[in-house]
Subunit: 86 residues, 2 copies
């Protein structure tokens, strides 16, 4: 069993209104040191060992479903899942 | 300058309909090996060095704004930000 951790964020050129709103809210809470906030999606996917190359599989999942490759970029990490310590 | 990477996910006991829907969609795309999908939020926060302990600051930001501590758990990593390599 593998665990893929996928991080999807907007490309630099894409406006991130949610990030701007959160930055403003943090400033209201007196966290003036906050310079920039980017918001993204985080996926944890448990994949049984199907024999295929896990990296290629996860990359295809990202390209086909998890990320909008026109506006977003993604990166992922694969763990050989001996029950992630909680 | 620091960069905090914050990962917010649902607690185990909380239903994750979005994760279930994505799992179903991945099965439709023939990724039958996918066993479980969890969806969460991912934040990248750039924080100027305000002298205060960065870890405590980020933890408070999570408790006060970024995570709903009743339903979600969070973890974060702090990088001393020499321009994260792209």
């Amino acid at each position: 069993m593998y665990k893929a951790k996928v991080y999807v964020t907007y490309k630099e050129s894409i406006l991130d209104p949610q990030g701007a709103a959160i930055k403003k809210a943090l400033h209201h809470l007196n966290y003036q040191e906050v310079q920039k906030v980017s918001v993204g999606k985080y996926f944890e996917i448990q994949v049984a060992d199907g024999g295929q190359k896990i990296n290629e599989q996860v990359q295809k999942m990202c390209d086909e479903l998890l990320a909008n490759v026109n506006m977003e970029t993604y990166r992922f990490e694969i763990q050989d899942d001996q029950e992630d310590e909680k």
